[in-house]
């Protein structure tokens, strides 16, 4: 492996300068004249790995070798796509068959890279060129609905682990020549391929430049998944809030592409990263657009209510019980008092115990098979919830508060945002237990101020609230009817702002005629 790492390290500096012309900057090793030389090159390059197969073949008295990685190449395909056509071809047409079906190269390093992608290499004695054909084994998951982003109505397509399939899904949904895909490579020792997808006529060029600058500035041995990439390129890592939206839904990505945003795919990951993104995009679901707009708006505002509840409710409860009991009206005092009278713990401990229990049940349930997960849910939710109250450890009202909070936190569609919210809740609980309402006020202020200073690739994160754009409120915590969406949102910074005019032109015409 020394050789490869040496090569890639050398080429790294060049890569960063000219990512697009990557092929040119790769080191060159010309195809050797003798088959023995080529054989030993591949053996050395793969350190004699056992899955490297080098077979001798003989085509019309020309001797050659067939090189492939047993672990990457499909033997059936080799038989069907390579051996059969060559053997069956007319003697004088062999060259033509080779030219039409194979990719040619005179660079052994290129061949080596293709081998890793599942190609089969054909070399002839005395030839200056090698022939390559992709015969990789495809073991793809079928395209199915992502389980963490389900919708009631609408498309049920989701991305898979194969980059080409994902790009195909996008291309199929957006049939316009303006859709541009750019391939980039990152990783110093092991390269991963990422694809930048955007609409050439909409996406902001400065944004793409900025993205490429950040990608070029990355120096890491290997990028195994999108989480790495996200952390390497996002603006502020010192924040609980995700500044890049990742989704596995095709329709969601298509919608964002149409607003002028940029999608980033990474080989081997079913998630697509979307930039630039705002806080409010995390609360959208494709369902909102497929249901009636009044219902969609109602559901959206419900989600925003849920974030307020999820962050603040336990804190407010703690503050009321611990500091400001007098805010409760007379009728409420009695039930609350009777519930908390014999509880041995202060409200903060009560809340922490219950909130942590819920987090634990979630954590335990996530990684278990669904049947055991259900059992854990029942044991955790019902048994613990009921038992702690009966044992007199936790008050009834606290159980109510914690349960509402948990439901509220999980109603946020994007799990990254839901995590952020659940984390912030603990900070506010601590502040509330030390300063009461004052603590909550300052905690909330800190969070808001933090949201105001965050940016996602130069776009204010809390836009359109801060900075305030009245027009863009149409698609934030409410969803106005589609015919109101005449302009694209400012936060996407698209180059053409007009989206449509008179979406319901027929209605307009009818009125005019009257």
């Amino acid at each position: 492996m020394k050789l490869t790492s040496l090569i890639f390290n050398k080429s790294k500096n060049k890569d960063t300068k000219q990512n697009s012309s990557q092929q040119n900057s790769q080191p060159v090793q010309e195809v050797l004249r003798t088959l023995e030389g080529n054989t030993s090159f591949f053996k050395q390059a793969f350190s004699g790995s056992d899955d490297l197969k080098i077979n001798d073949i003989n085509v019309r008295n020309r001797s050659g070798i067939l090189v492939y990685l047993e672990t990457m190449a499909d033997k059936e395909k080799i038989q069907k796509n390579i051996l059969k056509p060559i053997m069956e071809a007319e003697p004088n047409l062999v060259e033509d068959v080779l030219k039409s079906t194979f990719q040619k190269s005179d660079n052994l390093f290129h061949a080596q890279r293709e081998l890793l992608n599942g190609a089969c290499i054909l070399l002839f004695e005395g030839s200056k060129e090698c022939y390559m054909l992709d015969v990789s084994i495809s073991k793809d998951r079928p395209v199915q609905e992502p389980s963490n982003e389900q919708v009631i109505q609408g498309s049920h397509e989701g991305f898979v682990e194969n980059l080409l399939t994902n790009l195909h899904l996008i291309r199929k949904a957006l049939k316009t020549p303006n859709l541009r895909m750019e391939n980039l490579k990152i990783g110093d020792q092991i390269q991963s391929q990422i694809s930048l997808v955007y609409r050439e006529d909409l996406a902001n060029k400065e944004l793409i430049k900025e993205f490429k600058k950040r990608i070029a500035g990355i120096s890491i041995d290997y990028i195994p998944s999108f989480g790495y990439l996200q952390e390497l390129i996002e603006d502020s890592t010192w924040s609980p809030f995700p500044q890049i939206l990742y989704t596995e839904r095709v329709d969601r990505v298509v919608g964002h592409l149409n607003e002028g945003r940029v999608a980033v795919f990474i080989e081997g990951s079913p998630s697509c990263l979307l930039i630039p993104i705002t806080f409010f995009a995390f609360f959208h679901s494709p369902d909102d657009y497929n249901s009636r707009w009044i219902i969609g708006s109602f559901v959206r505002s419900l989600r925003f209510l849920s974030i307020v509840i999820a962050v603040n409710l336990p804190a407010v409860y703690i503050a009321v019980i611990g500091f400001h009991f007098e805010v409760l009206p007379d009728e409420l005092i009695l039930p609350v008092i009777s519930s908390i009278r014999n509880i041995p713990f202060p409200p903060l401990i009560e809340a922490l115990v219950m909130e942590l229990t819920i987090e634990l049940i979630r954590e335990a349930g996530v990684r278990l098979p669904s049947r055991i997960g259900q059992t854990i849910g029942i044991v955790g939710g019902l048994v613990i919830g009921d038992a702690v109250v009966r044992a007199g450890l936790i008050s009834n009202t606290m159980i109510v508060v914690v349960a509402i909070t948990a439901v509220a936190a999980y109603s946020i569609p994007a799990s990254a945002m839901s995590d952020a919210v659940r984390f912030l809740r603990f900070i506010l609980m601590l502040l509330a237990s030390t300063f009461g309402f004052v603590g909550i006020a300052f905690g909330t202020m800190m969070i808001l101020s933090h949201l105001c200073r965050l940016e996602s690739f130069g776009t204010p994160y809390f836009s359109p609230w801060a900075p305030f754009h009245f027009k863009d409120l149409k698609d934030t915590f409410i969803r106005l009817p589609i015919w109101k969406f005449n302009s694209r949102p400012f936060d996407a910074r698209s180059t053409t702002n007009d989206r449509q005019s008179m979406a319901r032109g027929w209605k307009f015409n009818e009125k005019k005629q009257k």
Partner: protein, 378 residues
């Protein structure tokens, strides 16, 4: 909508760091002006001007407008320089730096007085047993965080929290159901001199528009646009304050009750309760905290900027912790109601000097010397 421009022309962040739109300027000035004084203003004014307190407040707004005109006149001559840069430009390095320092100190003292009054009210109304310095540290940390993010983020934050002002108005308006509008009669029953005395009290609560002297270079607008913005802010604040004073004048009997209630607005809303909520004043105070924090953040920002402009190439953010520390010490000095009085007495003349006299003199100097910043157009 300058914000749109940069979005549309696609130029990215760097060029536009530290820019504020004209609309954001309006809210920045509003948030700077409305501060801790809002709770005690009706009491202070009514003590002097009796039932005509609301006229005094209106007049105070007019006076602020005059000062705003002076300030704006000065800023217009130096469109890309803040006062801290104008001073050495007009008066020479030594004198300029000296006045810069005194400005920074003045903002420091004013800010710490606001801080002290804030923690006094917290102490009285919400957290009687928590030591004052803790609540002060809490607000100072929050303010450092807000201010440390740069002018653009400050502006965004101020706009974001501005709806709170309307919430406060709604809460106060609700209590008007028990008001007796006869209390404000006879209108003009006190003589002019008393009304003017009341104006003096009210004018102190209006302070904050001097922020414009320091942030106007960041604002992306024409000179006239800026004047419009700052005037809008002042009109809003004047109306806001006048409404608050008026509301408490018609709620309390002027001569007896209002003198006994140092924070009349709080007593007003304390008196009523909703079905699910008692002690509305606690919620009012929690919201008010945010309004106060923005104005403390303002003073912090201004004094840190002042210190930073004394030195070359040190960003103001690195002064924030130091300045906040001094705020804390200064704010812990006054202990009692009496100390506030003497604090105020000391500050009274300095307000005149720093807000009116110096900008006015600078304007005259720049007019006489016909000194003015060369503006490259195109």
């Amino acid at each position: 909508m300058i914000d749109n421009l940069w979005l549309e022309d696609g130029s990215l962040m760097k060029k536009n760091k530290n820019k504020v739109t004209n609309k954001q300027l309006v809210f920045m000035i509003i948030q700077a002006q409305i501060g801790v004084g809002i709770l005690s203003l009706p009491h202070d004014v009514a003590l002097v001007a009796k039932q005509d307190g609301w006229i005094s407040t209106l007049l105070a707004g007019v006076i602020s407008q005059v000062i705003i005109l002076i300030i704006w006149g000065l800023c217009r001559r130096f469109p890309s320089l803040s006062l801290y840069q104008i001073l050495p430009n007009l008066l020479g390095k030594v004198l300029g730096k000296f006045i810069t320092l005194s400005y920074a100190l003045y903002f420091m003292v004013t800010g710490s007085l606001v801080l002290a009054r804030y923690s006094d009210i917290i102490d009285k109304w919400i957290l009687p047993r928590t030591p004052n310095w803790i609540t002060m540290v809490l607000v100072l940390i929050t303010c450092i965080y807000i201010v440390g993010a740069g002018v653009t983020s400050i502006a965004r934050f101020y706009v974001l929290v501005s709806p709170i002002l309307f919430l406060l108005i709604v809460l106060i308006s609700y209590s008007l159901k028990d008001a007796n509008f006869l209390y404000i009669f006879p209108i003009g029953g006190t003589d002019l001199q008393t009304i003017f005395k009341g104006t003096k009290e009210a004018a102190f609560s209006m302070l904050g528009f001097e922020l414009f002297l320091f942030i106007h270079p960041f604002v992306q607008a024409s000179g006239k646009g800026k004047l419009k913005a700052i005037t809008t802010a002042n009109i809003f604040v004047t109306t806001y304050y006048t409404f608050m004073v008026f509301a408490s004048l018609v709620y309390f009997e002027t001569n007896t009750d209002i003198a006994l209630t140092p924070e009349p607005l709080l007593y007003m809303i304390k008196a009523y309760s909703f079905q699910v909520l008692e002690r509305t004043d606690l919620f009012f105070l929690s919201l008010w905290l945010i309004v106060v924090a923005t104005s403390i953040a303002n003073w912090l920002f201004l004094s840190a900027m002042g210190f930073a402009s004394l030195f070359k190439k040190i960003p103001y953010t690195s002064f924030l912790p130091l300045v906040a520390g001094i705020y804390l010490v200064l704010a812990l000095l006054p202990d009692q109601e009496r100390d506030f009085e003497s604090f105020n007495k000391f500050l009274g003349p300095s307000h005149y000097i720093f807000i009116i006299m110096i900008p006015f003199l600078l304007l005259i100097v720049s007019l006489v010397l016909s000194k003015k910043e060369e503006v490259n157009r195109g």
